[in-house]
């Protein structure tokens, strides 16, 4: 399953990242090297093994459903790169494309 330059471009799109041509070439080589090493897992028979997603056997942790104070608007907007009085401000969503 060799990774091609096209794969790298596709994954970059999914990850919302952009790279120069040079970076893409380097990433292609590095991902191939890393993934080739990871192919070793294919030598293991895992047909009867359940996937492990949580290392301590916890399930359905609930808390009581009561109101708790939330952060004031000013605090939330404190880290906004650009804001209006009450809102986060972003460039227009409907572009020129």
């Amino acid at each position: 399953m060799a990774v091609t330059l096209k794969d790298v471009e596709h994954v970059a799109l999914l990850a919302q990242l952009s790279f120069s041509e040079e970076e893409k070439a380097r990433l292609t080589a590095q991902l191939n090297q890393i993934l080739e090493y990871m192919e070793q897992l294919n030598s293991l028979d895992t047909a009867d093994v359940e996937p492990l997603s949580h290392v301590i056997e916890l399930s359905n942790v609930f808390r009581t459903d009561v109101n708790r104070p939330s952060l004031p608007r000013e605090a939330i907007l404190r880290n906004a790169p650009v804001r209006t009085e009450k809102f986060f401000k972003v460039p227009k969503v409907i572009g020129d494309r």
Partner: protein, 477 residues
């Protein structure tokens, strides 16, 4: 060169006898931070603020109301939130982000009258094994400044190893506390998954991340762990398991303790001096009455692959939130929302972070999910089962913390896989959710510290703390 570090136990006695104050202790550490600036351990230092905290603790000591960590000076990895302070994760993308609340670990340590001296440098978003990936420059190893301190919690480790704080908080996703502790010659502990609340910790890989302490001695690590542990309503992954008195567990008695050593795993690629330290540790444990048993960890060859597939997958998902819209770095050249996302992320994240996001996105993408991600989740269970099987016969597992001592700057930066392989002995504990501790034991021919690691059963930190305490006592004799 390495100085003798002041332990919290020593300071505590001095505070109780009145021969020092918390304020003077803090002033001493601030002075060390200033003279050790070139080590680049800190991203923020709290001058007046920590002195105010120290004076408040001094008043409590005078009144006899001081808490269990009174006068302990703590440094905090800059991935843990402290209210009204920046939390940068050593990334340009969070360079100006200010926390709105305290992490639960901060609240608990503060309630015990510890004081916080500053935030420490790290690999960007805790991705790295050398602290060379910080957007704010690498951290130097105080034992040999031409070498890395390990990572990703390099700054926290150097804060303690360089005598700039009693203890420090780090995070360990695949070895990020234990590996730097080994490289710098101090104690580093990764608690069991679920032992410590992660509320207020910026998420990297949610099924692995744990917060734990760095300390100059095992007893100090035990004290901090005791205060920081326990269930938290704000973290549903924190476990409802009672917290024992870890300090009381430090008897130094290992008679009858069953220690497993995976000798076949240690046969490969180990620096000879590290092997010598392992042999000497085993010898000392035998002299103390411990039983050394050979154990098999049949899937140990697969730990790095499994770890890096799952870790990068989770990280790519966790880091999707940094898009330049509501907080964090925003590109100034974006003309529409789509460009805003891509450009803010591409300009804001560093090279290793982007590489891992790419790898993680790839293994989660359509067509590859089963082949990589799901496969790795299955192998993860097999690796965990290896440890559960071993723990039927032994109480803990001994390995070196790292295959080599601290490496030089730039030595592994061009070869990411080579860098990943330096985590070979530490990642297993994270994959299986087990506690692990690194304790300094011996040095190599160049005077670089060697770390011995004990890994224990889930929630049995007491066992590995005591085993590490025993070796520490042996080293002092």
């Amino acid at each position: 060169m390495q100085r003798t570090l002041t332990t919290y136990d020593q300071t505590r006695r001095a505070l109780e006898s009145g021969s020092t104050t918390c304020e003077r202790t803090v002033e001493g550490y601030l002075e060390s931070i200033n003279t050790g600036k070139r080590l680049n351990a800190f991203l923020a230092v709290f001058g007046e603020k920590v002195l105010d905290e120290a004076r408040a603790v001094d008043r409590k000591i005078a009144e006899g109301t001081a808490g269990p960590l009174a006068g302990m000076v703590v440094a905090v990895k800059d991935v843990i939130c402290m209210r009204d302070e920046k939390v940068t994760c050593a990334s340009k993308i969070l360079e100006n982000f200010v926390s709105l609340y305290d992490a639960t670990v901060i609240e608990r340590l503060r309630a015990a009258d510890a004081v916080f001296i500053g935030k420490t440098n790290m690999d960007e978003f805790a991705m790295g094994s050398s602290t060379e990936n910080s957007a704010f420059g690498a951290v130097l190893n105080p034992v040999d400044e031409s070498r890395v301190p390990g990572g990703s919690s390099g700054g926290s480790c150097v804060a303690v190893a360089g005598g700039m704080a009693h203890t420090a908080l780090g995070t360990d996703t695949g070895g990020s506390i234990r590996q730097p502790a080994a490289f710098c010659g101090i104690v580093g502990l990764k608690p069991t998954y679920g032992r410590v609340s992660r509320y207020g910790l910026v998420a990297l890989s949610s099924s692995f991340d744990q917060i734990g302490p760095f300390a100059a001695c095992v007893a100090d690590a035990a004290r901090v762990l005791h205060v920081m542990s326990g269930q938290d309503v704000n973290d549903s992954t924190s476990a409802a398991v009672p917290v024992p008195d870890y300090t009381a567990a430090l008897t130094g008695n290992v008679a009858g303790l069953k220690v497993g050593v995976p000798w076949t795993v240690l046969g490969k690629g180990l620096q000879p001096e590290i092997r010598a330290s392992v042999d000497r540790a085993v010898q000392r444990l035998r002299e103390g009455g411990a039983h050394i048993e050979e154990i098999e960890l049949p899937h140990s060859d697969y730990v790095i692959s499994t770890y890096y597939i799952l870790m990068t997958a989770e990280a790519s998902s966790n880091l999707a939130r940094y898009d330049g819209a509501r907080y964090g770095y925003r590109s100034t050249t974006a003309r529409n929302l789509s460009e805003l996302y891509v450009q803010s992320r591409s300009e804001g994240f560093g090279q290793e972070t982007k590489r891992r996001i790419m790898l993680g996105t790839y293994v989660l993408s359509a067509g590859y999910y089963d082949a990589y991600y799901r496969k790795a989740q299955k192998v993860r269970r097999m690796i965990q089962q290896d440890f559960f099987n071993a723990f039927e016969n032994v109480d803990c597992v001994l390995t070196p913390t790292t295959p080599t001592t601290a490496f030089k700057f730039g030595e592994k930066t061009e070869d990411p896989l080579e860098m990943y392989l330096s985590d070979i002995f530490t990642v297993s504990a994270n994959l299986a959710g087990l506690p692990g501790i690194s304790v300094p034991f011996g040095k190599d021919g160049q005077g670089l510290p060697v770390g011995i690691q004990f890994v224990g059963r889930q929630f049995e930190e007491s066992t590995i703390l005591n085993a590490a305490y025993y070796l520490e006592q042996q080293e002092g004799r």
